[in-house]
């Protein structure tokens, strides 16, 4: 399948591996990309934990992003950088995996992921267990060909209303087809939670930029907490993103984020945004 292990796979090689306990891995961000969103650094960290946990149960199950207590965005990963990923598995079995992780660039930590929990789903509904097993062995051995990732085009986001510095609603139309569905997942495409969060963060940033005390200042996400994914978002579906400011100071703005499909809240999180620099 075109794009398999390239379009949304963020590990080139696993450099250290202690089964069911911890791992380190590398991912080179292709130099030709325009940018590499912070949420994809979190995705890369989560995927390394996924490899460790899937290998532990012989690829019979796969974890899906569901809960993340805290993700700290500490720095940027730029095109051309190499991510040095590490994960510590707190608990892992056929039901779920709990882990924490981090990503560094040139020895400087750019992301910390604290207390993430993912339930395990039946692998063969989503992917081919034997193919994953083979690719995992390749990651442990010679590694995958670097620079496979072509970049991600975020789904179009139509801002429905924006109350300066306070709140916003936007419609996010997930495409029927996109390269990342080749990896996420081959047998049952599902919109990646990290891309949903990326859109939510961008919407929160737009609200923050319109706050009276912050205008004309560039802003960056610093922390995402209380992430809870309640349901799938499938290709072709549209969700409404809602952000609402909960607290604001000169240095930080905190938002509640929700993704709603019809009358169902499919995801919630809290996002913190700060002026850059």
């Amino acid at each position: 399948m075109a794009g398999r292990y390239a379009a949304f796979t963020f590990c080139d090689r696993i450099t250290a591996y202690q089964p069911a306990k911890r791992a380190r891995g590398l991912f080179h961000v292709p130099a030709g990309l325009e940018s590499f969103p912070a949420c994809l650094v979190a995705e890369a960290t989560g995927q390394l934990a996924a490899w460790v946990s899937m290998a532990h149960i012989a690829f019979r199950g796969r974890p899906v992003a569901a809960l993340a207590a805290e993700t700290r965005f500490l720095g940027e990963a730029r095109p051309g950088d190499t991510l040095d990923l590490q994960v510590d598995i707190e608990q892992c079995d056929a039901e779920s995996v709990a882990y924490s992780g981090a990503a560094q660039v040139n020895g400087v930590q750019v992301l910390e992921l604290v207390d993430a929990v993912a339930p395990m789903l039946a692998q063969d509904e989503y992917d081919a267990p034997e193919d994953l097993d083979a690719f995992f062995r390749r990651l442990l051995g010679e590694g995958a060909t670097p620079d496979r990732f072509p970049g991600v085009v975020p789904p179009p986001m139509d801002v429905l209303d924006l109350d300066h510095g306070q709140a916003a609603r936007a419609s996010l139309a997930v495409p029927e087809q996109a390269p990342y569905f080749a990896d996420h997942f081959p047998r049952r495409p599902v919109f990646p939670a990290t891309l949903l969060l990326d859109s939510g963060i961008r919407l929160a940033a737009r609200v923050a930029e319109t706050h009276s005390g912050w205008q004309a200042r560039a802003v960056v996400p610093t922390r995402v907490t209380h992430v809870k994914m309640r349901d799938w978002i499938l290709p072709g579906q549209t969700v409404e993103l809602r952000v609402e400011q909960q607290a604001a100071s000169a240095e930080l703005m905190r938002f509640a984020l929700a993704a709603v499909r019809g009358d169902r809240t499919v995801a919630t999180a809290r996002v913190e945004i700060a002026p850059q620099g």
């Binding site: 569901a66 809960l67 079995d93 039901e95 779920s96 809870k228 309640r230």
Partner: protein
């Protein structure tokens, strides 16, 4: 029937359990009552139970094996005797009534799908989960 835990033991852990439930579900703390069904009263979903179990583990520094509540409820009753074709058997219902003493009798409706057993769980159910885990940890220390 002798209760597994005294009211005092339940109430000793209840404030922190209630706070953890409110955090996990995004509920108002005053909406969390000892006898409230987490699913029917607080709109909890399966992902919330996973979240809650991990939060309780951290709050109380205990280990709660996944799926432990239903497994404990079943006790020594084999799964094949606890449920048939997804429906809790009479033996299974008797076992649930015996185990979930905190749940009012009228909430044990038959036929009950095995997947609906978590609808019975209340805040007190999770107090008992915590107390069992504490007891197990003390026994193995």
């Amino acid at each position: 029937m002798q209760q597994e835990f005294s009211k005092e033991e339940i109430m000793a852990v209840y404030p922190k359990v209630a706070e953890t439930i409110a955090d996990a579900l995004g509920s108002e703390p005053e909406d969390v009552k000892l006898d409230v069904s987490l699913i029917e009263g607080l709109q909890a979903e399966s992902i919330d139970f996973l979240d809650l179990v991990f939060r309780l583990e951290r709050a109380f520094k205990i280990k709660i094996p996944r799926g432990k509540i239903v497994e404990d409820a079943r006790g020594d009753l084999p799964e094949s005797e606890f449920e048939e074709k997804g429906i809790v058997t009479e033996k299974g219902m008797a076992r649930l009534r015996e185990f979930l003493t905190e749940v009012p009798a009228e909430r044990f409706k038959t036929p009950m799908k095995a997947a609906e057993v978590p609808k019975l769980f209340t805040a007190e159910t999770f107090c008992k989960v915590v107390l069992r885990a504490q007891k197990a940890a003390a026994a193995s220390a």
